[in-house]
Chain length 297, copies 2
């Protein structure tokens, strides 16, 4: 039987560009009103290539929309104490609205201790336990970049979530767990019946076949296949994995946790990889920074 | 077709008594070692009858097992400022390991502000957002009384939870939401595939009929009926409602969220109401207080 479903892409690249354009307008308004320009700082430790790339992209995005940005670089040999001192300084800097410590950190530094040292009201990464607790309790907070980005995509594409069965695959603290909390909240987007699946789930297909919305955040290339989903499903693919591909100049291609062609054929909406959830993360960070600036002023 | 299933009661009254006896032994050990006796304080505001009953039961339980307890009573007219001052004092009292502010508070006091004023390391009620966040992140914390009590019941009755489908009905911040987080964790008890259902869930019976474990926390008398569950299910009933009953001297009886006889006939394990989850809550509070005392010493 042929399927004639036409799916719509949840275009993270475009949505992220829209958000940045909106934020640039906000900055102009703040300037016109003589308010203080949103100011984001990043702490970068060591020489990890990916970390450099991420931080540079964040700094560049700030410049693009007119936010102030600061970058503090430390050698990989920095002590925990020095790092804590810098965090304390940034916590108390009245000119700074939010800051992030780019992870991962070198092994000799207690990452959780660093995360908890950031003042919750400047924790625009949303990693502090207090902010995660506030998210769970539906209090004003900073939701971390990936979950916030997914919620933005659902909202801006006006995906109908109320009373839908949302199946989340993967229980990471960064994506799966917060998404399971957010999608069940009495809000829009939200108000879903939420099932959280993971490595110990038996018969995962029974759950995915029943799902109206599937969010996959496993990091397992092309895990979700066409036979696992029903017609009309909305699919959010958080995974991104390099797989060997000799037909490409680079020798690899990027794939998500979803076998795209198969699943897209049955979907109503689906995120591409790349260009779906990924580009939303920086937009989320910038939105959190604006929120921090507005609260502070 | 007749059902011959014999169910086992998850006896909260007995389990709570067991825990208290264990805690009394712990206190003796601490005394013998010259350590500091766990000390719990309660702040009680106004004349609400139920609040008095709860607080008195907590104080009495402390005395019974040898904990120190303190009770601070305020008139309903107490200002928020006075209350915050007392909380600050208790936060800084080196002789006190944990304290609670009995809720609800009078309307002129911002309950959330009070909750957040309690130092997380003394928040044995587990209501502070930081502690809820730490629960979500699986960091050392205080889990609040009802969820902790349910986890204790599952653990002590050695209920097999790994890979089971746990359906939770009700998304309150006090029970449903934390249970949904705890049951999905990579722990034992835990490691369930968790579905969180609520008022906006469509076809709730489809979910409950598939469930291996059902936790009902709706506050809706006899909501879960026999036709909604499968043979062998484990049922935790958190509800407790007074319903009129002229055959009783008092004119009422207490019922849970589960139509007990019908559901019990198909269950492997089930909590009674009363005598199931209810009695576990004070035991949880005492366990948290012991934990606080051990951390502090």
């Amino acid at each position: 039987m042929e399927s004639e479903t036409t799916y719509q892409l949840l275009d993270g690249k475009q949505t992220s560009a829209d958000i940045k354009a909106e934020l640039a307008v906000e900055v102009e308004k703040i300037k016109a009103a003589g308010g203080s320009i949103p100011h984001l700082a990043a702490i970068l430790v060591g020489d990890d290539g990916a970390s450099h790339t991420y931080v540079n992209a964040k700094v560049k995005a700030c410049e693009l929309i007119g936010f102030k940005s600061s970058l503090y670089r430390f050698d990989a040999s920095v002590t925990e104490e020095e790092l804590l001192k810098k965090i304390e300084e940034l916590n108390n800097d009245p000119d700074l609205h939010g800051f992030i410590v780019q992870l991962p950190l070198p092994d000799h530094i207690d990452e959780q201790k660093i995360i908890e040292a950031v003042a919750p009201e400047k924790d625009v990464d949303g990693f502090h336990p207090e902010n995660i607790g506030k998210m769970a309790l539906d209090l004003p907070t900073f939701v971390s970049a990936t979950p916030y980005g997914i919620m933005q995509l659902l909202e801006r594409y006006k995906i109908d979530t109320v009373g839908k069965h949302c199946v989340i695959i993967g229980r990471s603290h960064i994506v799966g767990l917060p998404m399971s909390i957010l999608m069940g909240k009495k809000k829009n987007p939200g108000n879903c019946t939420v099932t959280l699946c993971h490595s110990r789930t038996a018969n995962i297909k029974d759950f995915t076949l029943d799902a109206d919305i599937i969010i996959v955040a496993l990091g397992s290339a092309e895990f979700l296949t066409g036979d696992m989903v029903k017609e009309g499903v909305v699919v959010i693919d958080v995974g991104i994995t390099r797989v060997e591909d000799n037909s490409k100049k680079s020798g690899y291609r990027l794939v998500g946790d979803v076998k795209f062609d198969e699943v897209a054929a049955k979907s109503s909406y689906i995120t591409p990889v790349p260009g779906g959830v990924g580009p939303m993360t920086i937009a989320s960070l910038l939105m959190n920074t604006l929120t921090a600036a507005k609260r502070g002023s």
